[in-house]
Symmetry: C2
Subunit: 327 residues, 2 copies
C-alpha cells in the first residue's frame, strides 16, 4: 500500500479538503508522482454533484508527472519517466475494443476520477496501458490539458477532416482553444464561434481564420465541433454545414439534440458524438502537438489553491485552462 | 413541342385524371417512352398534399423506358436505348457538386415530378445527365423501383458499411426489401425490424439473417437504416448501435429526431440523413444489382389502374412495390 496525499470532495459542492488514502499499486499499475493536473469542466461536474453521488471523490484527470514506482509486470515505462494520464486509467484488457486499441469503448472502461482516485493529489495510480510517455522537452503545465481537453477535440478532427476543409469550433475555452490550433495545423480553414467578443484576438492568435459571435452563413462548414455544454440551435447549425458534413458534440449538452431529419437527408449530413480517445490516439496526438507546437494556454496555480482554481473555472474565468502544480 | 399523355393530380387528394401537356425537349434533353413507373411513398405525399401545393402534378419517378427522341447535344444515349430516370432529372451542370458528380447536392437540383412533369405518363423528359442506361437483360418492372427506392438505401450502405458488418433495416417495404438484399450481397449480417410479423418469411427470403418485431439488444449493429416515416425511438436505437456506428434516416420522419447526446458521445456514434444518389452512384448500383441479382418484388398493374395503385400503396398493401406498366 502507498500513502497518497490528495484533495477530496466529501459531498457535492463542498470545499475540497486535504485527505490521505492507501493506494494499491497492482502488478500492471504505475504509481505516478503528479507534477501538474489541469482543471476540466468535468471535474466541476463531479465536484458539484451534477453526475451523481460519487463521493468521496478525488477529481483531476489531466495529469502530467513522473513514474514513481511500477508494478511487477509493467514493461513500457520505468521509474523517473515523464508521463501523462487522461480521463481513462483502466479497461478489461480483453475485449474486442481493447484488442483493437479502442479501449474507450470497453465496457469496463475505468475513469481516472470516478470510483477511482484522480490527479488532484501528490500521486495517482493508473494501469500501464493508459500511461502515456511525454517527451521531456514538452512543457508539463501546457501539456497537461492535452490529456483530456486536447484528445477530446483531436479525435473527431482526425476522424472527420482533411486538409483544406472548413471547420467551425463552437466555444473558445479549454477545449476550443486547442481545437482551433489542431484544426489549423491539420490544414483546415478555422472559424471560431463564441459569445465572448473579447476572445476574437486570441482566437486568431490560436490560428482561427474567422471569428463570429452571430449566426453562421448556410453551407459554410465541413465540420462543426461544439465544445460547449449549452444546447445548440441544431437547425441553425445543420443549415450552416455543407453536404456530407458533420456536427460533432463533445460535451454533454443540457438537453437532447433535436434535429430536423429534412436537414440531414437533403445534404447527407450527420450529427455525431465523440468522447476522449484511446491511448494509441493520445500518443499520436502528443507527437502531433510536439511537432506542430500545439499547447494549452494556461494559468498555473499551486495545488494548494485548488478551491480557487475550481471557482475560477466555475465562473468561466480560466484563460484558457487552469493547471495545478505540485511544488 | 411534344404532346404527352399523362395522369394528373389537379388538387390534393383528388383522383388522378388523364391529361395532355406540351413537353419541350431541350438540346440536352432526352424524351423517354415510359414502359414502367414504380409507385413510391413520395408520390403519395405529393398527390395527397403533404408537401404543399404542387399542382397540377404528374407524379412518378421510378421510371424505365426507351429513348424516343434526343435533343441536339445529347451524346450518351440514342433512340431505342433502354434507360431509367429517378427522383432527379436536372441540375445546374456547373457548380462544385455537379463537377464532382454529386449532383444531388446541387442547389438547382430539379426533381422529376415537382415543378416538372413525371413518369405517370406515356412519356417523360429528362436532362441527359440523369438518364441512366439499363441493360436489356434486366427486367424492367423489377428494375424500375431501383431508380428511387433502391438508390436511397444503396447510397448509405455504400457509404457506411463494409463486409462483415451488422446491419439493421427498420421497415420492410419498398425500400426495406431492397436494403436487405443490397446489404446481404455486400456481405453484411442483416436484421430486419418490422411491426408486421407476417413479413418474417419473405424478409428471410430477401436475405435477412434475423427478423425482430421488438426492441433490439444493445450494442448489436454497425448501421441501422430507418426506411419508415414513423418517428423512431432514437434512444432505444442508439443504444442498439455499436461504437462508431451510425443510424441513418432516409425517410422524412413525422417529427424531429431527438437524441440524447450522452448516447452519441459514449460510443462516438452518429445520426445521419441520406437522400437518393447521384447518376454515377445509380449507374454503379445498376451494375451491382445486375451482377448480384437484386430486384424489387413487384405487383404490376396497367398505368390506367393508377388510382387503384395509389390506394393500395396508401393502405400499405403493396408487396413490395406496385409498378405501373404502359401497354
Amino acid at each position: 500500500m502507498e500513502k497518497i496525499s490528495a484533495y477530496v470532495t466529501e459531498k457535492a459542492k463542498s470545499e475540497l479538503k486535504p485527505y490521505t488514502y492507501d493506494g494499491k499499486v497492482g502488478d500492471n499499475d504505475v504509481l505516478i508522482k503528479v507534477s501538474h493536473c489541469g482543471v476540466c469542466q468535468s471535474d466541476i461536474h463531479l465536484v458539484d454533484g451534477d453526475w451523481g453521488d460519487v463521493y468521496p471523490c478525488i477529481a483531476g484527470h489531466e495529469i502530467i508527472g513522473t513514474v514513481d514506482r511500477t508494478g511487477e509486470k509493467v514493461k513500457t515505462v520505468k521509474i523517473g519517466d515523464k508521463v501523462g494520464v487522461g480521463w481513462q486509467c483502466n479497461s478489461c484488457n480483453n475485449c474486442e475494443y481493447c484488442e483493437n486499441e479502442e479501449e474507450t469503448f470497453c465496457k469496463e472502461n475505468q475513469p481516472t476520477c470516478v470510483e477511482h482516485f484522480g490527479g488532484f493529489a501528490q500521486k495517482v495510480i493508473s494501469n500501464e496501458r493508459f500511461v502515456i510517455p511525454i517527451p521531456e522537452t514538452m512543457d508539463s503545465a501546457k501539456t497537461a490539458p492535452l490529456l483530456c481537453a486536447g484528445i477530446t477535440v483531436y479525435t473527431p478532427l482526425k476522424r472527420y477532416v482533411k486538409k483544406g476543409d472548413k471547420v467551425a469550433i463552437i466555444g473558445i475555452g479549454g477545449l476550443g482553444h486547442l481545437a482551433i490550433q489542431f484544426a489549423k495545423k491539420m490544414g483546415c480553414s478555422v472559424t471560431a464561434i463564441s459569445r465572448s467578443k473579447d476572445k476574437e484576438l486570441e482566437s486568431k492568435e490560436f490560428g482561427a481564420d474567422n471569428f463570429i459571435t452571430s449566426e453562421p452563413k448556410p453551407d459554410s462548414f465541413d465540420l462543426i465541433i461544439n465544445t460547449t455544454h449549452i444546447s445548440p440551435d441544431m437547425n441553425m447549425y445543420m443549415a450552416s454545414i455543407k453536404p456530407k458534413g458533420t456536427f460533432v458534440q463533445v460535451g454533454i449538452s443540457e438537453t437532447s439534440l433535436d434535429v430536423d431529419p429534412g436537414l440531414l437527408i437533403g445534404g447527407n449530413k450527420s450529427v455525431a458524438g465523440s468522447g476522449i480517445g484511446s491511448p494509441k490516439m493520445i500518443k499520436e496526438m502528443i507527437k502531433f502537438a510536439q511537432k506542430n507546437n500545439v499547447y494549452a494556454k494556461v494559468e498555473v496555480l499551486p495545488m494548494s489553491n485548488i478551491n480557487e482554481a475550481l471557482n475560477k473555472t466555475r465562473m468561466n474565468e480560466a484563460r484558457y485552462r487552469i493547471v495545478l502544480e505540485n511544488k
